[in-house]
């Protein structure tokens, strides 16, 4: 297999339609007789629904039907839950795990602001919203559960009384002997770090269109989801139909970032409405709904302690972790265990002890979002390491040089399971090399000299470092089906869903190389359950690895079929057939080359040639990965802090990263940039803020602060390439990485800038008000 396209900076094949405004997002799907849904959502954080009266609303102009739980009882099945511990993990750690069912419509109790109480279907969205305002609900408010540590205590108001606690996941995990390490430590340090609730905030909200076909009893639904096959499975349960009667199409997605990878009430409600009414129904999530109805993320508190020697060698980590899950534990052990599995990161630390409590509160449910528990772990760890360096009078770069795992120590076995239950063993990479590459890109020594000079002038600049090692591409599998048509052109279908990552380009690069055809012969179809029967979806930095290798496997099988057919046509041995650039030839006989179209057409049975061949030029492969593969990076942030206002200006941001073999360097760089931008948002700007009554105070983009082009610096990327030994293509996951380190790197840089004042940033976002309060507290 030649690598003509793999590794090349091919321009994206999906771009022209987006540039012309010809993408097809879910709101662009329209059908004859289409109706529009709007939802009545709970205005209360925690309340009982005593009665709902819909008569006045139902009489409003344009209203077709109003649905409450009791109207749809027959269709009301609990939403899908994820994240039970897999066997290898369950064997190693005892999880105290609780997950409560959530129904698409509130049955009798709302547990967060925004939970859906009733659905209006009308002839326009405007009129549906008019009717929503006329629905009357008798609410009996219940005490809200807001602060995570208070919520975990006995005596707190209960969100799911049948649990008799709000703690949904609790476990203790240890490797080595942490107590002994702390006992022999020369220095110990303990600090509490808080990483706020912030979210993916795709620019396109969620949306669902559904149509019921009474002729064959099937449902087609377009859903702005990252996981069309999961949505299909959920609907099979809800609608009591076999999966092949349910087609879920993820059209173009206006961003996902994990937010669109959960199972949501609307995924079921819109198809239910279409089924019950016999007419197509559309719901497009507006921004206000998105703020309360789409999954939130992050929101952890770490009380972390380090034990070290005076020379800076870190001996052990102890951490107590609280996660605020929001109202339902949708994702089981996924977020808490992700955090635990990534806490140590690139450091050579053999003793770890963690106590974890994941707690339900009356807030929008949390779900994995770009990084999924890793930015929190890295924030706690890398902030603690910087605090230790300061305590010891060490340079933050030197303490990392001393403690980073060296490449000759790889494969590096932690002696504990990863989240998929397999042993946590780093496969490839060079963390010290990434550190040095990032430091050299930012000219670290010069920055340090400049820092001293500028301080004398009252200018406060700082440099912050953060590194991570990320398990990417969790299994169990993804699938791909490759089909050639009469002309030799190729369709690649996969369960992976493109939400801007460039699948239509990178997957075509893999397929074109594996088949020996020009790139523009390949069409990639993602996220259509009718195109490939089994799939998982795009999240967890998994698609390049899982779908990419499936595509390579399927393509090589199709190529073998082509070789056999070409051998028959050219009357040569299959071993002598070459395929390149869409032509098959006998090796060493250039004149023998024929277009693949001829090879395929010659394999079609005719009356003249009955039964001599079969036009079978397709294959499906489901590549199974043994476990995750580890990507890694070191980020360096350079900031300037205005001590008169608390404003932080990001001057430079450098990323030195390894994502294994690079399929398309331009796309890789774009993914890094986007991740960093979201991490910068978390470091400095973004926060979902609730008041003590459980009301969301950041309900618009006026208050939830997504960074603009003015807040972000140019981002410099250094590519290190350490192929993964765990898949044939040698690739690793990439999508999330950029978002993992910025909160730690930027907070470290702020501390560094304000070192003369002794400021310690313990919480993000590092807003001007928060920084000035820290400065005030430290000033004489």
């Amino acid at each position: 297999m030649g690598a003509r396209y793999f590794g090349a900076a091919v321009k994206r094949r999906e771009d022209p339609r987006f540039l012309r405004g010809e993408g097809r997002f879910v709101d662009d799907v329209t059908l004859p007789g289409l109706l529009h849904a709007a939802f009545l959502r709970s205005p209360h954080a925690h309340a009982r629904v005593a009665a709902i009266r819909t008569e006045a609303a139902a009489a409003m102009p344009g209203v077709v039907r109003i649905f409450t739980f009791s109207d749809l009882e027959r269709w009301m099945k609990p939403l899908p839950l994820f994240g039970a511990p897999p066997p290898g993990l369950a064997a190693a750690i005892r999880f105290d795990l609780r997950q409560a069912p959530q129904y698409p419509l509130c049955r009798d109790r709302a547990r967060h602001v925004g939970e859906i109480v009733a659905m209006v279907v009308a002839d326009s969205r405007y009129r549906a919203e008019d009717a929503v305002e006329r629905i009357e609900v008798d609410w009996e408010p219940l005490p809200p559960v807001v602060e995570v540590r208070a919520a975990s205590e006995a005596g707190a108001p209960l969100l799911h009384p049948e649990w008799a606690t709000n703690v949904a996941v609790a476990f203790t995990h240890a490797i080595g002997d942490t107590a002994a390490a702390f006992a022999r430590a020369e220095v110990t340090l303990e600090e509490t770090f808080t990483i706020q609730r912030y979210v993916g905030m795709p620019l396109e909200g969620r949306g669902v269109v559904a149509a019921w076909d009474r002729r064959d009893g099937s449902v087609t639904t377009w859903n702005s989801t990252q996981v069309s096959h999961f949505v299909q499975q959920g609907l099979a349960t809800v609608l009591e139909l076999p999966p092949h009667k349910i087609r879920v199409v993820a059209p173009d997605l206006g961003g996902g970032f994990g937010t669109k990878a959960s199972g949501y009430a609307e995924d079921a409600l819109i198809p239910i409405a279409a089924r019950v009414l016999g007419r197509p129904v559309k719901w497009i999530e507006d921004r206000r709904e998105h703020m309360v109805g789409a999954a939130h993320a992050r929101d952890q508190v770490h009380a972390i302690a380090l034990a070290a020697r005076r020379d800076g060698t870190i001996l052990a980590v102890r951490d107590r972790i609280w996660l605020d899950l929001g109202a339902y534990n949708v994702w089981g052990i996924v977020l808490p265990y992700n955090t635990v599995a990534h806490l140590i990161g690139p450091y050579r630390i053999r003793d770890l002890h963690v106590d974890v409590k994941a707690v339900v509160t009356s807030k929008t449910p949390n779900a994995p979002y770009r990084g999924a528990g890793r930015p929190e772990a890295v924030f706690a760890m890398d902030r603690a390491v910087d605090c230790l360096a300061r305590r010891l009078g060490m340079d933050p770069a030197d303490i990392r040089r001393r403690n980073y795992i060296r490449p000759d120590e790889l494969p590096y076995d932690f002696g504990m399971p990863y989240r998929d239950g397999n042993p946590l063993v780093y496969d490839s990479g060079d963390f010290p090399a990434a550190l040095e590459a990032a430091l050299s890109a930012v000219d670290y020594d010069e920055r340090r000299r400049e820092q001293g000079r500028l301080r004398a002038e009252g200018v406060h600049r700082g440099i912050g470092i953060s590194g991570y090692v990320e398990g990417t591409a969790i299994g169990p599998f993804e699938g791909a089906t490759i089909k050639l048509d009469l002309s030799g052109r190729v369709s690649v279908a996969t369960g992976a869903v493109n939400s801007g990552q460039g699948h239509e380009t990178t997957f075509a690069q893999i397929a074109a190389d594996a088949l020996g055809v020009p790139l523009d012969w390949v069409t990639v179809v993602g996220g259509d359950t009718a195109a490939v029967p089994f799939g998982v979806g795009t999240f967890a930095s998994r698609s390049a690895v899982t779908a990419g290798n499936s595509i390579a496997d399927a393509a090589s099988e199709v190529r073998s079929k082509l070789v056999r057919a070409a051998a028959a046509l050219l009357e040569a041995s299959p071993a002598d057939i070459e395929i390149a650039d869409g032509r098959a030839a006998v090796r060493g006989v250039p004149d023998s080359a024929v277009p693949l179209a001829r090879v395929i057409q010659a394999a079609i049975p005719t009356f003249a040639r009955p039964g001599v061949a079969a036009p079978d030029f397709e294959a499906t492969a489901y590549h199974h990965v043994p476990t995750v593969t580890y990507a890694s990076a070191v980020h360096v942030a350079h900031v300037e802090v205005d001590v008169g206002t608390g404003l932080v200006k990001l001057l430079r941001y450098v990323v030195a990263h390894d994502c294994g073999k690079v399929i398309n360097p331009t796309i890789v760089e774009g993914q890094v940039h986007g991740g960093v931008a979201q991490g910068v948002g978390g470091a400095l700007y973004e926060e979902m803020v609730y008041d003590e009554s459980g009301q969301l105070l950041t309900g618009t983009l006026m208050d939830y602060l997504v960074p603009t082009a003015m807040e972000l610096p140019p981002i410099e990327t250094v590519h290190l390439e350490f192929p993964s030994p765990r898949n044939p293509l040698g690739v690793k996951g990439l999508g999330e990485g950029g978002a993992i380190s910025p909160p730690a790197a930027i907070a470290n840089a702020i501390d560094d800038a304000l070192a003369p004042f002794g400021v310690c940033v313990t919480a993000t976002p590092a807003s001007p008000a928060r920084l000035l309060a820290l400065l005030d507290a430290r000033q004489p």
Binding site: G674, A709, M710
Partner: protein
């Protein structure tokens, strides 16, 4: 309450009866089937719905359709010259200035008006002009590069 609105969009005349409360964004998308104008926040922050009104970028979610009476609107569908991409579209393609593509129409129209007013911008000027358009995918780095390249291409 309904009213007839007459306007030109991408050079083409249209006349439609619309409810007076309908936003221009919804009108373009639903009544004229110009779905390249995207609705991201409906409160004027994200900029995805940006169109040109007499050549100047405006939020189409913050205008009523009836207010567009007798105006000339340009949407993303009017940017290319037939098969020929506009130089900005080409530059965004060449420089990976888009990922999911949802913010792209609003950003291209903003950039078009900006380069007409400021043909030789610095990167800081580009960033300031872009600041009314949120992009959640790219971190803006390649968008700035694309706009700079388009500006350099005009010299």
């Amino acid at each position: 309450m309904n009213r007839t609105v007459r306007l030109r969009v991408n050079g083409e005349r249209h006349e439609r009866l619309v409810e007076v409360r309908k936003t221009l964004a919804d009108f373009l998308r639903e009544d004229l089937a110009l779905t390249g104008t995207h609705v991201g926040c409906e409160h004027g922050v994200c900029g995805a719905c940006t169109v040109l009104l007499h050549g100047e970028p405006v939020r189409s979610c913050l205008l009523l359709a009836v207010q567009a009476e007798d105006t000339e609107i340009t949407t993303i569908e009017g940017l290319a010259d037939g098969e020929q991409l506009h130089p900005l579209q080409q530059a965004f393609w060449d420089h990976h200035g888009l990922q999911c593509g949802f913010c792209t129409p609003g950003i291209l129209l903003t950039a078009k008006a900006f380069l007409e007013e400021c043909p030789h911008p610095t990167d800081d000027e580009i960033r300031e002009a872009l600041s009314g358009n949120l992009c959640r995918c790219t971190g803006y780095h390649f968008i700035v590069e694309a706009i700079r390249a388009a500006a350099e291409g005009r010299r």
